[in-house]
């Protein structure tokens, strides 16, 4: 059976815009906002959300990248992969509100690794989670604060996020 497109480019743009608003609304006090994308596609999503936030409230937010390869809990079970660069904005993350940005939330293991990685970079005031797609099937007690689309799926199905910056196309698909 062929892949079914569940989000088109306009849907994705709308979802990110909504997430940007929700992040701003949830912000308490005047702390800095640091959006850290989890490579590969989370980095592009973090940058997009940050640019929307910047249009609305210039100067309060920064974007970066947080690689979690070295923190994965399946590191010893799979062939070694090279890490991707981590980019923490110059001001660091101490006392900032960090929003982790991922493309798909699934088992929650990637986010667990990201939480460990964050702690090694500093002590944020709070950590939130934004995802483009939540497909369910959590294996850890983790939930997203900001969700672009809830997408109930079977574990046998494959959910793919493709973004212009990485893949040259813009879509979210599900295939059996």
């Amino acid at each position: 059976m062929a892949a079914r497109t569940v989000l088109h480019d306009a849907d994705i743009a709308r979802a990110l815009r909504r997430i940007a608003h929700e992040i701003l609304e949830s912000r308490r006090g005047d702390g800095r906002l640091v959006l850290l994308g989890i490579p590969t596609r989370g980095v592009a999503l973090a940058e997009r959300i940050q640019s929307v936030i910047d249009e609305i409230e210039p100067g309060v937010s920064e974007a970066g990248a947080l690689d979690i390869t070295l923190y994965r809990d399946d590191l010893a079970r799979t062939p070694t992969r090279a890490p991707a660069p981590t980019r923490i904005p110059a001001g660091g993350i101490d006392d900032a509100v960090v929003v982790l940005v991922a493309d798909v939330l699934y088992s929650g293991r990637t986010i667990r690794a990201a939480l460990d990685a964050i702690v090694d970079h500093g002590r944020p005031r709070a950590v939130r989670l934004a995802v483009l797609v939540d497909r369910g099937h959590r294996e850890l007690p983790i939930r997203a604060d900001f969700v672009g689309k809830n997408l109930p799926s079977a574990t046998s199905e494959r959910v793919s996020v493709r973004l212009t910056e990485v893949d040259g196309v813009e879509e979210v698909t599900i295939e059996p």
Partner: protein, 323 residues
């Protein structure tokens, strides 16, 4: 399981990948917590049949920064100095559950033997074998050159067109051998400088230019000049007549250093013989990379340990491109 035994069979893409991972490791140096969890519950054994405090400490630091358990066997005061064979030592380490063995040995090929004789299936990392190779030293040298040359733009790059002169006892130098193969693979223009007595037989087949006089090589304005440590006992074996003559002909004297371009890197794997192969003026200059080499050594060794030890799967080729 794959190993790091030499740079001879390291392909360009694999070498660049390794240098890039070392960049990731270098990034962790200024974090709040510098330790990474990547090698938790892995055991790295430092097996040093030959004393080398510098290299041993560098590997220990690298393994600990990756959260590995580190066991160190040094030649002095252990059975490895009492004639226990490489094979018996290897089997002891197997029984201890070593995931990686960092081996330094006075005999060429010791790491190859450990990797291929079927005595143990741990990842073997050559930390210097006889007069054969010292691959992590060459990798840290290449990393240092690349970082000085390209700064934040270093990732993904080779050393194309970078001219490196390696000066001194090429004949007995494992550092020189590993650098020749690696720098060549990365596209550098490699020049070797030594009196003919200290050049290996058959060097005409190596991918390098050879000079018998240092001034001739320096006239080519190399981007980096790497001075090798000269052992004074070579004098007794008639490789050269005296330290004074060696220093005059092949040393990086204050005069020669003054004539170098302002951006020329001055490298030395250490420990240095100041006043013999290198003058203090050169060693302490802003062009000197000696301390950067030490710092970068830890990042390179973290990258090597991570790529060889973190993952699993016997079909994996973590560094890639080998053999």
């Amino acid at each position: 399981m794959r190993h790091l035994l030499s740079t001879r069979d390291l392909e360009r893409a694999s070498a660049i990948r390794l240098l890039d991972v070392a960049e990731d490791m270098a990034q962790t140096a200024d974090r709040a917590v510098r330790t990474l969890p990547a090698l938790r519950d892995k055991t790295v054994v430092n097996l040093f049949f030959e004393d080398s405090t510098r290299t041993r400490l560098s590997f220990e630091a690298a393994a600990k920064r990756l959260s590995a358990n580190v066991i160190t066997f040094s030649a002095k005061g252990s059975s490895v100095s009492k004639g226990e064979s490489l094979k018996d030592t290897a089997q002891t380490l197997l029984a201890m559950g070593a995931d990686a063995i960092v081996v330094r040995h006075h005999d060429s090929g010791a790491a190859h033997r450990l990797a291929n004789a079927g005595w143990i299936d741990a990842a073997i990392i050559n930390a210097g074998d006889g007069t054969h190779e010292h691959p992590t030293q060459a990798l840290l040298d290449a990393f240092t050159i690349r970082q000085r040359r390209f700064g934040a733009d270093a990732r993904g790059r080779g050393l194309d067109g970078v001219r490196v002169a390696i000066v001194g006892d090429i004949l007995h130098s494992r550092v020189a051998r590993s650098n020749v193969w690696l720098l060549h693979a990365l596209g550098a223009d490699v020049h070797l400088v030594a009196p003919r007595t200290l050049l290996p037989h058959g060097i005409d087949t190596w991918p390098v230019a050879v000079h018998e006089h240092l001034d001739e090589a320096l006239a080519l304005a190399p981007d980096a000049v790497m001075m090798l440590r000269i052992q004074s006992e070579r004098m007794r074996d008639a490789f050269f007549p005296s330290a004074r003559e060696y220093g005059r002909e092949w040393g990086l004297t204050a005069e020669r250093f003054a004539a170098l371009g302002p951006d020329t890197m001055v490298m030395h794997p250490g420990p240095m013989n100041r006043g013999l192969e290198i003058s203090s003026v050169a060693a302490d200059s802003s062009g000197s990379t000696v301390l950067a080499q030490v710092t970068n050594g830890v990042f390179i060794r973290m990258a090597v340990l991570y790529l060889l030890v973190a993952g699993s799967g016997s079909d994996a080729d973590p560094i890639g491109g080998q053999g």
